[in-house]
Amino acid sequence: MKRFLIIDDDEGMCWALKKALEHENRDILTATSGSDGLALFNVYEIDLIFLDIKMQDSNGLEVLQQIRQQNLEVPVLIMTGYSSLSIALQAIEKGATGYLTKPVQIPKLQETIKKIFSEDDITEQKALPELPGT
């Protein structure tokens, strides 16, 4: 069981992401503010965080910094609609694991999650069907 935390002040985005990522082996928590997200992070063991940068009550980069002060290992995936080289650089300097610009395509998101939890890759490669004539 993996537990994901989505921090985004857009409730619609939280709902859509939660629906898209729901899986029997996943527990998905959502928070619509940085402070609520940090509160959940302090209570639960989280395997992956999706973090918006521009939120009404807080700056996602500051939230990322606070997360990293407590935990250097949990993967944090930044998702932003206000992308620039400078923001991407700040995010990676503060310890982001990944960076995606909105709108995020769900297949791309699933692929990114798979890369973060890459232990499943070998199993899936073995399951690929053989091409006809090979």
Partner: protein
Amino acid sequence: MSSGSGNAKSLTNREKQLIRFLRHLEFGEIRIRVENGQPVLIYEAIKNFKLDEKIDSRNTRHKET
């Protein structure tokens, strides 16, 4: 004969930012937008963990599930 460095242009601010980004990423993949030979946007980037780092991270968890 040329030394190869006499005509080298200095890096632009955007090029420097991209290099800093790559150095912080360490391992991974990125997709960027380039305009007029300059990086203008990073669409996506993902840092890949080395196996030993993943094992270490699992051994350093403290919170209860």
